[in-house]
């Protein structure tokens, strides 16, 4: 191929390839380019996209998603999956809303801790079934997906908690802006920083990658695999519990169908963000970019006036394209390495 091309073209194409290669060495490059292209295209159609207000909107919308997607990422890195996050959010949001309705004077910090503790118990149950019970993660969390959702109905008898039943302080938990940005965004940033530190700079965090990329080798290296897997599901429940409190605060309600179907969005954000579904690979910035991409897609489809009925289809299509182009980039890198 290269021999047949004129030398000038060959030179420019190889330098282009070198630039591409350095870019691609960071797994986040592919998705960043995709986001930039999408943003340019949307701005050409709807200039209001590139305003500070609009970005504030996008950030608000993806905060909860990124918190849960980071939890999902830790699970997927161990070659597992947690489909029950949506039901955990639904159940904890309902329980917290019940408590807050009865005790409007309760301190916000206690409410947050309560939500995280309740979520952690639910996550612990997942972890126990998967480690001690040897049930494959997809089956275990598919089961608890319907168990926890059933418990929401059982708990609330089908009633909702509406906005007027919640105290003002609780509603401000997500929307207040004492630090310039809405609190909910601050929460997401803090969680992202903690998860980043945990995954990259603590022993348990590194063990998560070890268990995911080669479970047998990890076992031989003295890592207690079951313990790591258990911790990951526990954390997933804990962060889902936090997300549940924020969810109830942001939408000022708890319904029986809160977060229904949300698990697929979290998996989508992780996978689009370069987390390998077969375990061992994934970065925090990548997942945040994945969540950002989903948020931008949702936001821009409204801005360029695509009928709301076609938005889900466009979202699905873009997820497919993102995953395919990621695979294509990886393949071409592999080929050029040879």
């Amino acid at each position: 191929m290269a021999v047949q091309n004129p030398p000038v073209v060959q030179g420019s194409s190889s330098s282009l390839r070198r630039i591409l290669l350095t870019l691609v060495r960071f797994r986040e490059a592919g998705i960043s380019i995709f986001i930039l292209i999408l943003m340019t295209a949307v701005t050409l159609r709807a200039p209001s996209f590139l305003t500070l207000n609009n970005f504030n909107d996008i950030l608000l919308n993806i905060s909860i998603l990124s918190i849960v997607a980071l939890a999902q990422t830790m699970v997927i890195i161990t070659h597992g999956i947690d489909l029950s996050v949506s039901s955990m959010i639904g159940l904890v949001a309902m329980m917290v809303a019940f408590v807050v309705k009865q005790n409007p004077e309760m301190s916000i910090l206690v409410v947050i801790l309560l939500g995280m503790a309740l979520g952690a118990v639910l996550g612990m149950f997942n972890g126990l079934i998967i480690t001690y019970g040897n049930v494959p993660p997809i089956i275990a969390t598919l089961g608890t997906l319907s168990i926890y959702r059933g418990l929401v109905f059982f708990y609330s008898q089908g009633t909702w908690i509406n906005s007027f039943e919640l105290p003002r302080g609780f509603k401000l938990l997500s929307k207040g802006t004492p630090l310039g940005l809405p609190n909910i965004v601050i929460f997401a940033i803090v969680v992202a920083l903690i998860v980043y530190y945990f995954l990259n700079h603590t022993r348990t965090g590194r063990d998560i990658f070890a268990v995911g990329s080669n479970p047998d080798a990890a076992q031989f290296a003295g890592i207690r695999k079951q313990r790591i897997v258990f911790i990951v599901y526990l954390l997933s429940g804990l962060l889902s519990g936090l997300a549940a409190v924020l969810w109830a605060s942001r939408f000022e309600s708890a319904q029986t169908n809160t977060a229904l179907g949300f698990e697929l969005q979290t998996v989508a954000a992780s996978v689009v963000g370069g987390v390998s579904i077969s375990g061992g690979v994934g970065t925090v910035p990548g997942v945040l970019l994945g969540a950002l991409l989903l948020g931008i897609i949702q936001n821009s489809l409204t801005l360029i006036r695509i009928s709301p009925f076609w938005q889900l289809a466009a979202q699905g299509l873009l997820i497919l394209i993102a995953v395919m182009s990621d695979k294509w980039i990886l393949n071409s890198v592999e080929r050029s390495k040879r």
Partner: protein
């Protein structure tokens, strides 16, 4: 000379023809018999609890509720045995049914519209197959994407409209009974399909290939089996069956809305896994899957008669799904430990039990504050 070769061939036949005989007990230690036992237990409990359980007309009506799940379960069994998964079946079903409804609303002949729906469903399956078999993307990721994509297309087709007013000849597919008996047409269709799928899985080379792909895909590829083509075919088949189930569901309701069949993929996968199909591939029988569909159907019907909400029924079904795998593996691990106990092994369950008890005390306490107080 002649007699030797005859006896040799006879010898060869005896080896390949007879399976090694198993003890009487071993025959009954199979998952299928466990399911039969559970079904009998369920029937026994339900006839005690409700006098309406064994009513032929009730049973006939409830049986057609599960045929769409059953029709989608058949190819799902194939797919899971090869170690893959298809999360997009229910969305594909919605897309095909909505397409048919759209064409019907535009005045196209219902049979042409139904055919077009089947075609679109198969195309949807082919797209899954292409991305999984050719582009080699993980099945979970691809079908997660098409799960949103196909459902989105269904909404795009119909929006907030519904298609209705199907001719009677068409609704017969969903509502009709065979020759004046009580057996719904869709049940007969399912039984015929299940027999065909079962024979393909257990009596053909193609069926053996599926198990072999599930056990070791690379080895199967290297032994000359067209793995790519087979996967392609499976997903196309899954798309076709999803579309067929969608048409039957539309015929049964007499109308189509774009959210038709939302969430059914979980029921389909639950039925297959509860039937003993190993989620990582390579194991399971069609008989087990059909039995578990029957068990789920009877359980849901029985709980419905007792006025238990559909969502709360999910608790029982979720438990059943988890226990079906948890119990055998716990028995295995306990019998392998063989009575050796250290203090850790006792302490940990006690701690966990305490935590879960606290959780449920809080659960009922916080609930009683609102539910009782209004």
């Amino acid at each position: 000379m002649n007699s030797i070769s005859a006896s040799e061939s006879k010898f060869a036949v005896t080896i390949s023809d007879k399976a090694p005989s198993r003890s009487f007990l071993a025959r009954f230690q199979r998952w299928e018999w466990m399911l039969v036992g559970l079904i009998l237990l369920d029937v026994f409990i339900n006839t005690r609890l409700s006098p309406f359980f064994l009513d032929a007309r009730n049973l006939s009506r409830t049986s057609s509720d599960f045929m769409e799940i059953g029709l989608m379960m058949l190819p799902m069994v194939f797919i899971i045995i090869t170690g893959n998964i298809d999360l997009s079946v229910a969305s594909n079903m919605g897309m095909s049914a909505s397409f048919m409804g759209l064409l019907h609303n535009m005045g196209v002949n219902i049979w042409v519209a139904a055919l077009a729906g089947l075609l679109l469903g198969t195309l949807g399956g082919l797209l899954n197959g292409y991305l999984i078999a050719r582009v080699k993307l993980p099945a979970l990721v691809v079908t997660l994407g098409t799960y949103a994509f196909y459902r989105g297309i269904a909404y795009g087709f119909l929006g907030d409209q519904a298609a209705r007013g199907y001719p009677e000849a068409f609704t017969y597919f969903g509502q009709g009974r065979v020759f004046g008996s009580l057996i719904p047409f869709s049940v007969v269709l399912f039984i015929i399909m299940a027999v065909i799928f079962g024979l393909i899985l257990h009596r053909t080379t193609f069926g053996r290939y599926l198990y072999s792909i599930g056990n070791n895909e690379n080895a199967t590829t290297y032994s000359g089996v067209p793995v790519e083509k087979i996967k392609f075919m499976l997903y196309a088949l899954s798309g076709f069956m999803a579309a067929l189930a969608g048409l039957i569901l539309a015929a049964r309701f007499g109308s189509t809305r774009p959210d038709i069949g939302t969430g059914l993929e979980l029921s389909v996968i639950t039925a297959a896994v509860l039937g003993g199909i190993e989620i990582n591939g390579g194991k399971g029988t069609m008989g087990g899957a059909v039995l578990s569909l029957l068990l789920i159907g009877l359980m849901r019907f029985g709980m419905g008669l007792l006025n238990i909400q559909g969502q709360v029924q999910g608790i029982a079904l979720g438990m059943l799904l988890i226990l079906s795998i948890l119990v055998p593996s716990l028995i295995r691990s306990i019998s392998s430990v063989g009575g050796k106990f250290d203090r850790r092994a006792v302490l940990a369950p006690v701690v966990f039990l305490l935590i879960f008890t606290l959780f449920f005390i809080f659960f009922f306490w916080s609930r009683s504050l609102v539910i009782a107080g209004g």
